[in-house]
Symmetry: D2
Subunit: 179 residues, 4 copies
Amino acid sequence: MTETTDGSTPGWFTRTELETIRGQLPILYVNAVPVRVDDAGSVTHVGLLLGVAPDGTISRAVVSGRVLYHERLRDALLRHLEKDLGPMALPRIPVSLQPFTVAESFPTPGVTPFTDPRQHAVAMAYVVPVAGDCQPRQDTLDLVWLTPEEAASPAVQQEMTGGQDVLLRQALAHVGRLP
Amino acid sequence: MTETTDGSTPGWFTRTELETIRGQLPILYVNAVPVRVDDAGSVTHVGLLLGVAPDGTISRAVVSGRVLYHERLRDALLRHLEKDLGPMALPRIPVSLQPFTVAESFPTPGVTPFTDPRQHAVAMAYVVPVAGDCQPRQDTLDLVWLTPEEAASPAVQQEMTGGQDVLLRQALAHVGRLP
Amino acid sequence: MTETTDGSTPGWFTRTELETIRGQLPILYVNAVPVRVDDAGSVTHVGLLLGVAPDGTISRAVVSGRVLYHERLRDALLRHLEKDLGPMALPRIPVSLQPFTVAESFPTPGVTPFTDPRQHAVAMAYVVPVAGDCQPRQDTLDLVWLTPEEAASPAVQQEMTGGQDVLLRQALAHVGRLP
Amino acid sequence: MTETTDGSTPGWFTRTELETIRGQLPILYVNAVPVRVDDAGSVTHVGLLLGVAPDGTISRAVVSGRVLYHERLRDALLRHLEKDLGPMALPRIPVSLQPFTVAESFPTPGVTPFTDPRQHAVAMAYVVPVAGDCQPRQDTLDLVWLTPEEAASPAVQQEMTGGQDVLLRQALAHVGRLP
């Protein structure tokens, strides 16, 4: 457990270590639904990442990532938003850590609407307005901005896996834009 | 009931009409606690208005005002923030209308922590980051930015009346900055 | 403004007075989505009232009603739940007044998902577990308990008017049971 | 990593393994503030556990515990409430997993109001009404029910360590009972 891929950084594991822990402990995540808002704070568009899943299928997803050892949720949100949307996105991290929901993903389908074959992940979920220019990172095919109506449409929802479609509609419900 | 001070605008009443209604119906308000935040969304300062109460005493208060007929809560927040902080304050109205609390003020003390001798007022309360320059309006003596520790100090708390001290501490609790 | 239907009770108006005020001020409401929960607090069923609308159509609705002068939101919730579900429903009023959403209904369609031809109503919305026996009141045709899946189905959703279908799905999203 | 104290149960570690992981990953917790409520849902009393800390000092605390692998937050809440309050406490687990706050404890003081010398712990915090009889477990000295005013008093607050005093006041703020 003491060796890490980069030799010493706490919070980083070898791939084998992380695999082992993932079978024995819930792993803490943050999810961020990036949105564009008007002057009155009303959501006009939702940002979805287009990526290639390990099995080769194309799927849409919100920003999501692990919280590291000794990292605040706020800093984890900033880090993953910058990683996925680029350094000029200017995300407005929420003033309160109260999430709009907690998404519990289990390897076993059916326990909750959320599944993750790799692990038991528990994600604090936030809606995050972004005001700047967004540039998807290299391994993301695209970033699209959809209206709430488009984002909740069957065509888009079926491109989201692991319960991300449910999470997105929960976010829309929270901001009063569920069609 | 049909005559108004400006002749016709719906949502405006003569002073007498409003007085009468205030004795018979709860009046809807919005409260906004203006804050300065850092890049990670953490509150660094709270904005408090310094004003002269009808009885001549000086007191501190958050932004507060009535919601008009056919006005959205979002638009009422924008209007009152602009009225109290000026047109360059650049308030970031919350993406969700879920308030951090609902402050119910009664003319009778003791029903809740909040009192209002004029009326039964029910205020949706929000924490609102402001990014721009703030200029207090004419009938406000000053606008001060205090750290959470200063804002929750006994010296400042005792200058807030009607339960505004409680509301401010509820806001600090919500954003994780209650000392 | 001083005469009331019962002579003197503050908070009650003649029908004419209430009609007039409804055209000039937002009216404060509480909405309650009654639910059955299991031991772990997970929602198993949602209660919907079946009633006859003024135009003769049958529609489904959640518990909803006006907040009276000098009435706390908690007491308004209790009163309307008892009125609609009977005195043995044993509702568990939330410990926090933070609503899951605020439903703003306007006479004009399209401003928000919620409409109310009579007035501008602003409703604090809560999910309320009920543990006892429920008996719908006289002018309610029936009270049905539906699973979240049934409640969110198109067949049921289209029987809800004025945006109640949206409110119900917002409630399901909040409790993690949006299908 | 594969051996556990009881031989095989997933989610359980030897003391050494857990110590090692605690230095490398945030550990997920749930916190529950037990309360007594009146018929209108208003908090009348807060339950605090009296225990002996490892250093021999006596301190007061809310219910708190780790979330196990493949355990839902709801079930972790139930398990820890039963462990600390006994099997007849009849806790009313919240219908929504949205916590009133997320308490991030770090081994390093000053990052947040919360510290935990053992680990980086992230706790979802809930207020949980309990309706039944509460019997503190063997290694708890006592369980006391205090009014919100008593619980927030300096005498009680200084008996809470690691930021539990702040968490308790955040809970009181959330339910509208912060003195």
